[in-house]
């Protein structure tokens, strides 16, 4: 079957369960396509021969009751994988091989999936274009020299280019939804506390959340079902009743109330985004849902709040990369000199910028004005959503203020880069679930996404809305395989 890699996850599972395809055949197909796609630079670490061995082993004694039977998949290189190098896109971890497995990836392997390799990402997930990675930019399969979004850029590129049927990313301020939007795929950022953070290289602990990325909503729901679990090893993990998201998935959203927040009509928003949003509203109406105008008055403050809270936490979380215990170490005259050289050479410019911002906002004399105030505003932003959810079941917004941009276009303008997260950041600050689905194309033919934001723990509802809309939108990604010689 030459078109194995074109199949969705659900199709692959069905074919493996029906014994029409073996795990080995499927794995080899994705390995082959991945090998032909090196120009995308989606992988940091390939684990192809081990993957084929594991697939063969699976086929010898296949357990077809598992949710991901013999399915190969690559994961973002922010998840620690036992005995496989884990870099977080950074030079400082370029030699780091964990002796342990993250809970989320362990959940995936427990359901029969097989690791293909580790996918590129912005360094320590700090970026919106994958350009901050120590391992170089990732190409968006949509067009040459187009960013795939970030920080889960290797993940979005790999799914869109069908190098992996599904993947997982992490989302701190939009790092799953924005790249999903830029590459025409589906990405879900779950409720904070839904997926364990154990074994995920930390960026900003109070915002980080792992989530699934897939070609369609159903695949996304299934992968979410696998990765979402209560974990005692993560003190912020929440023990709530989790749905069978894929089994309970329905396109019946009749009578659901969908909020349209007026504050998301930002100045200078391209007309095509405005039009996409209107189209989205029409789709949900078509599905029998009710549209309600709402207000999220503190939306404007979300971005500055995020760029205080996230760097503050990052500045502390990244203190452990000091050259003493593991990772890169530069020689120094003494301890302080070693620290300075290790961290100056080991971290890239964006990471250093955020460490400095974070250190500054936590400093005595500035703490109250920045960090404490940001925490108060964060509470107000959460209150906005709480108020809105008294009237509506979910909220519909664009995923990003624009389509994907060219590599290098925004590297010298961090603020314009940060503005990319304007629609996604409030969701992280409020700890809510949000999903981005491909909803159309701009004039250049680049994909555009719509975001559905849910109540906490209400992933099933936004998956259902996304599922219903997906049917109406009938999106087709325009991918030409331009990178394959």
């Amino acid at each position: 079957m030459s078109d194995i890699t074109k199949q969705s996850l659900s199709e692959l599972i069905k074919n493996i369960k029906d014994k029409k395809l073996s795990s080995t055949e499927v794995t080899k197909a994705f390995v082959e396509r991945s090998e032909n796609s090196k120009d995308l630079n989606a992988y940091v670490t390939e684990d192809f021969s081990a993957a084929i061995d594991k697939a063969k082993k699976f086929d010898e004694n296949p357990n077809l009751d598992l949710k991901l039977p013999g399915i190969p998949m690559a994961v973002k290189d922010l998840f620690c994988t036992k005995n496989v190098k884990t870099t977080a896109g950074s030079k400082i971890l370029n030699n780091f091989i964990p002796t342990y497995e993250s809970t989320v990836t362990q959940n995936i392997w427990n359901e029969g999936a097989i690791l293909l390799g580790k996918l590129n990402c912005d360094e320590f997930a700090m970026g919106s274009s994958n350009e901050t990675s120590f391992f170089g930019c990732v190409q968006n399969p949509i067009d040459k020299d187009l960013v795939p979004g970030g920080s889960s850029g290797g993940s979005s590129s790999a799914v869109a280019a069908q190098l992996t049927p599904i993947t997982i990313g992490t989302d701190t301020g939009g790092s799953i939804r924005q790249p999903a939007s830029f590459t025409g795929i589906v990405g879900l950022k779950p409720t904070y506390g839904s997926c364990s953070r154990y074994g995920i290289v930390a960026f900003a602990s109070s915002l980080d959340q792992a989530g699934p990325m897939a070609q369609n909503v159903k695949d996304c729901a299934l992968l979410h079902e696998v990765i979402s679990s209560y974990d005692e090893k993560d003190s912020t993990s929440i023990d709530f009743k989790r749905n069978k998201y894929s089994k309970e998935l329905t396109n019946n959203i009749k009578g659901k109330k969908i909020g349209i927040p007026k504050e998301y009509r930002v100045d200078g928003m391209p007309k095509e985004i405005e039009d996409l949003w209107k189209k989205g509203i029409d789709y949900v109406k078509d599905c029998g849902a009710e549209i309600i105008d709402i207000s999220l008055p503190h939306t404007n403050y979300a971005l500055p709040t995020y760029y205080i809270v996230a760097p503050a936490e990052a500045s502390s979380n990244l203190a452990r990369y000091d050259g003493v215990k593991y990772g890169f170490r530069a020689d120094g005259e003494n301890l302080i000199d070693m620290y300075e050289k290790t961290r100056s050479e080991g971290f890239g410019a964006e990471v250093q910028r955020r460490i400095m911002i974070g250190t500054y906002v936590l400093s005595s004399g500035y703490y109250d004005a920045y960090y404490l105030k940001a925490q108060k505003v964060r509470k107000l932003i959460k209150n906005d959503f709480d108020e809105a959810y008294k009237k509506v079941d979910a909220i519909l917004t664009p995923s990003t203020p624009s389509s994907a941009f060219k590599i290098g276009e925004k590297t010298n303008d961090p603020v314009s880069m940060y503005l990319n997260d304007i629609f996604t950041v409030p969701v992280n600050l409020a700890g809510l679930p949000g999903i981005s689905i491909p909803a159309g194309h701009d004039a250049k033919g680049y994909p555009l996404g719509l975001q559905i934001i849910g109540k906490a723990f209400d992933e099933q509802n936004i998956l259902n809305i996304a599922y219903a809309m997906e049917e109406k939108i009938n999106f087709k990604n325009k991918i030409t395989d331009w990178w394959i010689k």
């Binding site: 930390a202 215990k325 936590l362």
Partner: protein, 487 residues
């Protein structure tokens, strides 16, 4: 309390200075595993053998609070008669050091688990109350070892992440003696509770000492210096003595005192500046986002209250009322749980007065000499009880008892057996004694006549003779009685 209690003052020319001391005691929580990981806390293991991925701060590792340590902190708070905060927050204290793998210490800054409390000190001139400001939980750091290699520093992370309670006193202490009493009392309370073993040699208890001085009679506090990480009571006292005098000398010299952190050099017996206020670290405290605020219910606290044993203050009161021991004796007997248990075991079957004297006197002296704890005493409470009963029923004299006691210290033998084996039994048979006495009077006819004619001083001579003839075994009381009759 007497008004003319002996004050600890530093005198210079016409001025008298009072010393103001506050202590930040770091007490290691007695617990099998660390504050946020499951690694063992056992002392003395090979370096870096008790280190989990969390303790070594590997990427993606997360802290999970050890509930037992929380219980220990709350129990200690109850023992300090302090307010237990139902909501407390763990903060990150950020700084770089080779033995601090995370690059931050998880501590409690703004919202500690225990609030204000108090400790009562028994000073020779009466009781003194010392205020407790707060108690919070925090992680210990690892250990940097600088003297194993000429060029490199070695790091041992066995201690990294071990739970500590930082107990901050109010600046209520006024002398090295009070500091001594305070640390001992604090240690005693925690040992009663089983929340800290108080072992200073193993570093389970250490303190940062804040010292300032002011002219006697003034209200405002002087500028304080903090002496870091002093690990014995003796060194605390020496450091305070030195530091207070240093500050007084500066003031007398017309200079001002810089608020700074100092180190105590035990070899030179002096404190040295470590860093000034200007160089103080900015620790960038903020709530640890990996941990939710710690919330405990009333029910949780109430259940822990039921686990609190009788504490030294209450026990002392009971000993005085029930056993009629003096306050001084009671203070000594309750100083630690093991001593009071020993005492209560001894007096189950023997005389309280004698038991008190023997424990505080002979036993403590003997243990001290051998550098033993009461729990290591070669003489069990049961055997000491037997010894006391042998005295009480006249089988042996007090003097003999000391000999028996010495034998007992060599190994835990039944005193009755020792008495038999060594033939130490006292001669208390009146007939046998009469025979002896008759013979002594016979042999000393002249002296007996002199005695009868009024030379009463000679009575002692006869007692001495009888004891000599009996080989020291005659019951001195009976000898006295019979002699009086016979002479």
């Amino acid at each position: 309390m007497s008004k003319d209690k002996p004050e600890y003052l530093i005198n210079r020319k016409d001025n008298q200075y009072e010393v103001v001391i506050g202590l930040e005691v770091h007490a290691q929580v007695t617990s099998e595993s660390k504050l946020f990981s499951t690694s063992s806390t056992k002392f003395g293991a090979e370096p870096n053998t008790q280190v989990s991925l969390v303790d070594a701060a590997f990427p993606g590792m997360l802290p999970v609070i050890n509930e037992f340590c929380v219980k220990q902190a709350i129990k200690t708070g109850i023992g300090l008669k302090a307010k237990i905060n139902k909501r407390s927050v763990f903060d990150r204290k950020n700084y770089f050091y080779a033995d601090l793998p995370q690059g931050y210490q998880i501590s409690q800054f703004k919202d500690p688990i225990v609030g204000e409390g108090k400790v009562i000190l028994d000073m020779p001139d009466g009781q003194k109350e010392v205020g407790i400001e707060r108690l919070h939980l925090e992680q210990d750091a690892g250990k940097s070892i600088h003297d194993l290699d000429p060029k490199n520093t070695f790091v041992d992370l066995n201690r990294s992440g071990v739970a500590l309670m930082e107990i901050v006193s109010k600046p209520d202490l006024r002398s090295p003696d009070e500091v001594n009493a305070y640390v001992k009392k604090l240690r005693s309370i925690m040992r009663y509770l089983g929340t800290c073993d108080g072992n200073m040699q193993e570093g389970s208890l250490r303190a940062d000492v804040n010292v300032s001085v002011r002219r006697k009679g003034t209200k405002d506090f002087g500028t304080r210096c903090e002496i870091k990480n002093v690990n014995s009571i003796k060194f605390m006292q020496m450091a305070i003595e030195y530091e207070a005098n240093r500050q007084v000398d500066l003031i007398e010299d017309g200079q001002s005192i810089d608020q700074e952190t100092r180190l105590f050099d035990i070899k030179k017996n002096e404190t040295r500046s470590m860093r000034s206020k200007e160089d103080a670290h900015d620790y960038r405290y903020f709530p640890d986002p990996d941990l939710l605020p710690l919330e405990v219910s009333d029910d949780f606290i109430e259940k822990l209250k039921l686990e609190i044993p009788e504490l030294p203050d209450e026990k002392k009161k009971r000993f005085i009322e029930k056993f009629k021991v003096s306050p001084y004796e009671a203070t000594i007997l309750v100083s630690d749980n093991e001593t009071s248990n020993y005492f209560e075991n001894v007096i189950k079957k023997s005389d309280v007065k004698l038991a008190t004297n023997w424990i505080i006197g002979e036993l403590f002296a003997a243990l001290n000499e051998k550098n033993l704890e009461i729990t290591e005493s070669p003489i069990s409470a049961g055997n000491l009880s037997k010894l006391i009963n042998l005295i009480k029923d006249g089988t042996i004299s007090g003097k003999m008892a000391k000999t028996v006691f010495e034998h007992m210290m060599e190994g835990d033998k039944d005193p009755k057996k020792i008495v038999e084996e060594k033939g130490l039994k006292q001669e208390s048979d009146p007939k046998a004694l009469e025979k002896l006495i008759d013979k002594v009077i016979d042999d000393n006819r002249e002296k007996a006549t002199e005695y009868k004619s009024g030379k009463v001083k000679l009575f002692g001579f006869f007692v001495g003779q009888v004891m000599k003839v009996s080989g020291g075994k005659a019951n001195p009381q009976l000898v006295n009685e019979i002699l009086k009759k016979k002479l």
